[in-house]
Symmetry: C2
Subunit: 401 residues, 2 copies
């Protein structure tokens, strides 16, 4: 694609959540129109998108209709069906990016780890677990406790449970389906990289630092507060990960920076200098890359649109230190969403608010995020404090102040 | 307005051109939904907006329907009808920002200049011109030539003609309607300021420098390459202009930086230190403020949304030196729009493309713009050169390379 025409270029997206919404917001200035497929009427992406098809992610007729309206298909949710996408690509000739094969790999935590390990990319030591005997062997091999993860369907820590040698192993496996057990990593910090595969080019955004709580991302601090050597090594690992994937698009690459002395890495013998292990890969824009909207010369969403359409990639350079913080549902039970405290947030210099337009707030649901850029030359720690104060003043609870 | 709710906040906008489009793009992250009224089906703003009402700007029933759907009404085009807006505000109770009275003032170049001059704000010397006798008097008073301007309806230099003492004055006035004649200003550069009036607060963005050709803006260079003293004085003048206006919103304030020694200013005696004259005011986001999307901590479009909704204003601080350049229709006759050269533009680091989605390209029609931010610490002149090269490589002509 090289020309913008009166009729526009259309990007079909399976999934219409916040990632689809921010993708559509970023695509509009490029003259790229987004059509999303999502089961929820008036989903978050519906507002900035050209159109929404209401249907399940695996509704074959709906995915085919989406393809027929689009120049390129992509997905913003791992629940997309790789077989279906490959079939529709075959039938309609509409390209799908990233490649459905990559989606298949990243959907399965065991296959993902095997794929990386085969290429010598450092991951935590792991073992396939189909039953209690496997789990017992994993505890023997990897040490106790291990992190037991459902191979499919988990996100934000769902389907992840720590299991120790003395636990009831059958009970631990109850309802989990096929699993993988991983050695516990004694990490210094969780870091991540947004990588991108374009048409004949690859690039990485800067290394960022992520603060999780209950396995859900709370804040992203940019750049990561680690040594230059670790930063360089982490970016090298991210580049190797990109080489192991297929198709074009943006990838969220979650990494552990391991405490020196920890030996949880499967290839720790060769890699003990770097202290970087790959945790997970998302074949799509990633929560830890939302900072790029304000923090980088090109946002991860514009970059994803450029990549999947085969346009040249934009600069991944940082514009300045940046912190983003998630707005999670701070309610006990689902209820219609009303966000209080917006006035205070917007009154804070350098703060941008991103509201996802979800009608219902649920406990810990991702409802939006705030990003703060440095208006003055304040230290990064102060910027983080400021962002947290803004985030903490935003609430879905009725405060009747 | 302080809370974001599941149902969202709706901003009704009279006009759905590129300003409405960029306003809707900026409003979406805030959870603010835009509904536009525009006579062209699938107008530029229709893509990112929640909805478009198809109708004339002065269609009373349509404006009332727009008000009934909106929490606040605004306009992005001076062709909006102030009487109608005031009437609809009265009938529906929906606020209109900026105040229709301000629209009335800025719609009439004579009234605008009188309003500013009465407050001691420096403007070029001017005289009301209703007939040839008035025009002759203006040439005597203001010197020859003068700039003759139609009081209503002109933009991008339309309705502006230079007239000299020896010219056929009746012919010059033919078809112009009521006019104002202005002393010719020997300006060093054209500069402008985006000002904003919020709920109890006012602010100005940095002074920028504008390069015009055939009275149409070509490039905006940020910050303006002038002295710190001139910059400070220009911002003071812009603040005075904001005081002379009513209602909330963003205003484009066009200024002349006068060559030292020039005496075209009506109050030049008091102001010869400053060398700043006010040229025109637009009661809306302005072409010379498009750079703010990438160049400032808050874009003029987000700022306009914040202001008219009564939200706190964002930081107007510059993020770094920035250049924007308009993509004008480089065709001889109207034709379906296809923009060539996009690949090269996007391959240039730090370049952002903004495409307005207009179906038809016409000679000198504003079709989009590019903005370049500094990825390295290059001099501003180099950034301007780079931006021009990118812009020049973008064309609507069939080049069949």
């Amino acid at each position: 694609m090289t020309d913008l025409t009166a009729d526009g270029v259309t990007l079909g997206v399976v999934g219409g959540g916040q990632l689809g919404r921010m993708l559509a917001e970023a695509a509009s200035p490029l003259g790229v129109e987004v059509v999303v497929l999502d089961p929820t009427p008036d989903c978050p992406a519906a507002l900035p998108a050209r159109d929404q098809l209401v249907g399940a992610f695996d509704d074959e007729a709906a995915v085919r209709t989406l393809a027929e309206r689009a120049d390129v298909l992509t997905y913003e949710i791992e629940l997309a069906d790789p077989d279906l996408l490959a079939r529709v690509r075959e039938e309609t000739g509409v390209p799908v990016h990233p490649d459905p094969e990559t989606l298949r790999v990243t959907q399965d935590k065991l296959v993902e780890k095997q794929t990386l390990a085969e290429r010598g990319i450092p991951v935590p030591a792991f073992r396939r677990v189909d039953d209690a005997a496997d789990l017992r062997a994993a505890l023997d091999e990897l040490g106790s406790p291990v992190m037991l993860k459902a191979r499919a369907g988990g996100y934000d820590g769902r389907g992840n449970v720590p299991v120790a040698a003395g636990d009831d192993l059958d009970a631990a496996l109850e309802g989990m389906g096929p699993c993988v057990a991983e050695a516990m990593v004694d990490f210094a910090r969780e870091v991540s990289v947004i990588g991108v595969r374009g048409d004949g080019e690859r690039d990485v955004f800067p290394l960022v630092e992520n603060v999780h709580e209950a396995e859900i991302l709370r804040e992203t601090v940019v750049p990561a507060r680690t040594s230059g050597a670790v930063r360089e090594h982490a970016l090298d690992v991210a580049r190797e990960v990109l080489s192991a994937l297929d198709g074009r698009g943006v990838f969220g690459i979650e990494l552990f920076e391991v405490e020196s002395g920890d030996t949880a890495g499967s290839t720790a013998g060769e890699r003990d200098d770097g202290r970087i292990l790959v945790n997970e890969i998302a074949p799509r824009p990633h929560n830890s890359g939302h900072y790029t909207i304000e923090g980088a010369h090109t946002s991860q969403f514009e970059q994803h649109a450029r990549a999947v359409l085969g346009l040249p990639l934009g600069s991944t350079a940082l514009r300045g230190q940046t912190v983003s913080a998630n707005l999670l549902g701070d309610v006990e039970v689902p209820e219609p969403a009303t966000l209080h405290g917006v006035e205070r947030a917007l009154a804070t210099p350098g703060v941008s608010l991103h509201w996802y337009g979800k009608k219902e707030v649920r406990p810990l649901r991702k409802m939006g995020h705030v990003t703060a850029t440095s208006v003055t030359d304040e230290p990064l720690a102060d910027l983080l404090d400021r962002t947290r104060r803004v985030r903490d003043a935003l609430t879905f609870r009725d405060t009747t102040e």
